[in-house]
């Protein structure tokens, strides 16, 4: 209802100059697409939609005042080259037919239904903002963290700034053997000199400077042939100065013979892992190791009953082989003393709007090649579509897939482009009446400049702002 009346009075609403972040386009007859989420999935989907047709208008809505999602908040501080993709996204944002609207919480400030009324197509690219719980007793004790939050803490996610992990213990246990687990291990073990010139948050740097952690165990429920990390991250762990590997030779029994039949990536990864069995420099003060076929069953509290002092692991047998091998728990248990436990067993998407179908078992939006089930005009791309795995290139290919499906639907008439849709003008007006002010891309650039300015005296590429209010104040100054 509201959208229809606004469409009619669009011409009368003059205060919408802020909505027209585009440079005065006269061709208002092209398809209007809304992308929910300003991370890699959102930007790559937008990029393809803009490239394939000369008349698409794409608006990207992002909850935070700052764009780029996990490229900003997930990629490790010591992987700056991976963040180069931000330049591609910036180009997309600067495109005359694209506009970015930060500080908009879709699901709360505006509903998906309202977006669907204002746009020909809406793409959900809002990723995975929660984490998979271990689901074991003691998980809520002090000293236990989800990797998502720990990474968020050193990468400057505003919601994680008060995490204050206690790093005074000697041993840290990480559950999970994917790239996030290895990133956490590497950040815990890296010499400070290596981290000082990155965009790691200052409070994390200070905490790491005082860290007592000397030993990191990276625990997985299956075996060496099922580790989910990629070779670059494993190599980096092995190359850390002043750290040695402490692997157990017994864990690799029978692996050597299987090597020749493995596909190349798994073969190279396993060969590198086996090289680590020989340890390395005995004078190294720190160590890391992989422990296999173990699942966490309980976090053990210390004397005061409030802090984690250890973790109880169940030993598993492996049934089957290769990528589909299954961990079957036995009754054998093993306790490991440790003061820091980081659960890195996966991110998880959550529903942001009750009107959008959601598969609670798989924690994704149910879809067919990106077309959301039972909801014409609604699409999805990235982790919310496929689940929270893969590198940026995976998300890129997936987003291109979704964009192609949308373009196909435009071609075939599945999306009726003859209907005029008001797009951002209607949504901006709605947000205004609700007291929500958006952050334009040019306003993010003010935040960006300020972060770079603050990083300079410390020799860092930037010092990330940690406070949403401060971001907004600078954006709108």
């Amino acid at each position: 209802m509201i959208i229809n009346s606004i469409t009619k009075s669009v011409a009368k609403i003059n205060g919408l100059s802020r909505a027209a972040g585009w440079r005065g386009l006269s061709s208002a007859s092209g398809p209007r697409v809304c992308v929910v989420g300003g991370g890699p999935a959102g930007f790559y989907t937008a990029q393809q939609l803009l490239k394939a047709r000369q008349d698409t208008l794409v608006d990207i809505y992002e909850r935070l005042p700052v764009p780029f999602g996990l490229v900003r908040f997930g990629v490790a501080p010591d992987h700056p080259e991976v963040k180069n993709v931000i330049n591609t996204f910036t180009q997309t944002a600067h495109h005359e037919r694209c506009s970015f609207h930060g500080n908009v919480n879709v699901g709360k400030d505006v509903s998906v239904e309202e977006l669907r009324q204002a746009y020909h197509a809406v793409v959900l690219s809002n990723g995975a903002e929660a984490n998979r719980p271990m689901g074991i007793p003691g998980e809520n004790l002090s000293g236990v963290f989800a990797a998502k939050d720990f990474v968020g803490w050193y990468n400057g996610i505003p919601a994680n700034k008060e995490l204050c992990p206690d790093l005074s213990c000697e041993t840290a246990v990480i559950l999970g053997q994917g790239n996030v687990a290895l990133d956490v291990a590497r950040i815990l073990l890296s010499p400070l000199e290596m981290l000082k010139t990155t965009d790691i948050t200052q409070h994390a740097l200070n905490a790491l400077a005082g860290s007592g952690i000397r030993r990191v165990l990276i625990v997985g429920r299956r075996g060496p042939l099922q580790i989910a990390c990629t070779i670059k991250e494993l190599r980096e762990l092995g190359n850390l100065p002043n750290s040695r590997a402490e692997m157990l030779l017994g864990d690799f029994e029978g692996i050597e013979e299987t090597l020749k039949d493995l596909p190349r990536p798994r073969k190279r990864l396993t060969e590198l892992l086996m090289k680590a069995v020989n340890g390395g420099d005995n004078k190294a003060e720190k160590s890391w190791s992989f422990r296999f076929c173990r699942s966490p069953v309980e976090v053990l509290a210390g004397a005061d009953g409030k802090r984690a002092a250890g973790i109880r692991l169940a030993l598993n047998n492996l049934e089957g082989s290769g990528e589909n091998a299954r961990a079957v728990p036995t009754h054998q248990l093993e306790d490991v003393n440790c003061g820091l436990i980081i659960s890195s067993i996966g991110y998880k998407s959550i529903p942001i709007d009750p009107a959008v179908p959601f598969d609670h078992r798989r924690s994704v939006v149910p879809n067919d090649m990106g077309r959301v089930h039972d909801t014409p005009g609604l699409y999805c791309s990235g982790w919310v579509k496929r689940g929270p795995t893969g590198v940026i290139a995976t998300t890129m290919n997936d987003s291109f897939d979704t964009a192609r499906v949308i373009l196909q639907d435009m071609e075939t008439g599945q999306l009726d482009l003859s209907i005029k849709k008001p797009g951002a003008q209607a949504i901006s007006s709605l947000l205004q009446t609700r007291g929500v002010r958006t952050v334009l891309f040019s306003e993010w650039e003010k935040i960006n400049t300020e972060e770079e300015r603050r990083g300079k005296p410390h020799g860092k590429p930037r010092e990330k702002l940690l406070d949403v209010e401060e971001m907004l104040q600078i954006a709108w100054s």
């Binding site: 591609t88 180009q91 990629t230 670059k232 990106g370």
Partner: protein, 179 residues
């Protein structure tokens, strides 16, 4: 309006930031010192060799012919010069090859297949390139990262095929036309 639309349609995404006042600081060509300074130049200035051979022959020696085969199977022949980087050559000619990490061996988005007879003429990949290739979907024996291919005279005639990486590619290679 129509004319400028036509121009825009023929310009690749990476080139869009070259506007009236180009911002060189964000251009990958500039950052990697690969900028020729002018949009269409494929030949370096002819030079007279020490032995005084005619200028035309020298110009020919600098040229490397490259064929890109895009994701829909279309062939595009381009003229490059010795020293050109295959990824940026692709961008210059509107070939749809991504380079997310901007040639820093931190991704696999510029993955290409090299025509087999040219594989041995390329220097073997360094370990870092192999590590990134391991992450590329549909890895083959003749897979390389486009950003690591620097053109030499021996590579004249090389063909680089873009893998069909997405599940949803139009079966008949149809590309939607703008209305």
């Amino acid at each position: 309006m129509a004319a400028s639309s036509a121009v825009r349609a023929s310009v690749t995404f990476t080139q869009r930031f070259v506007r009236v006042f180009p911002d060189c600081s964000i251009c990958p060509l500039h950052r990697l010192n690969l900028c020729t300074g002018s949009a269409g130049a494929s030949f370096s200035a002819p030079s007279v060799s020490a032995s005084g051979d005619c200028q035309k022959e020298d110009t020919q020696e600098q040229v490397v012919h490259v064929v890109f085969i895009d994701r829909s199977g279309r062939r595009k022949s381009v003229k490059a010069k010795v020293g050109d980087n295959a990824l940026y050559l692709a961008h210059k000619h509107g070939i749809d090859l991504e380079g997310a990490c901007e040639a820093s061996l931190a991704c696999s988005t510029c993955h290409v297949y090299v025509k087999s007879e040219f594989c041995d003429k390329l220097p073997a990949p360094e370990e870092r390139e192999d590590d990134m290739l391991d992450m590329a979907p549909m890895l083959q024996e003749n897979s390389r990262l486009g950003c690591q291919i620097i053109l030499t005279p021996e590579l004249d005639g090389i063909e680089l095929t873009l893998p069909k990486v997405t599940r949803n590619f139009y079966v008949d290679g149809h590309v939607p036309k703008p209305h």
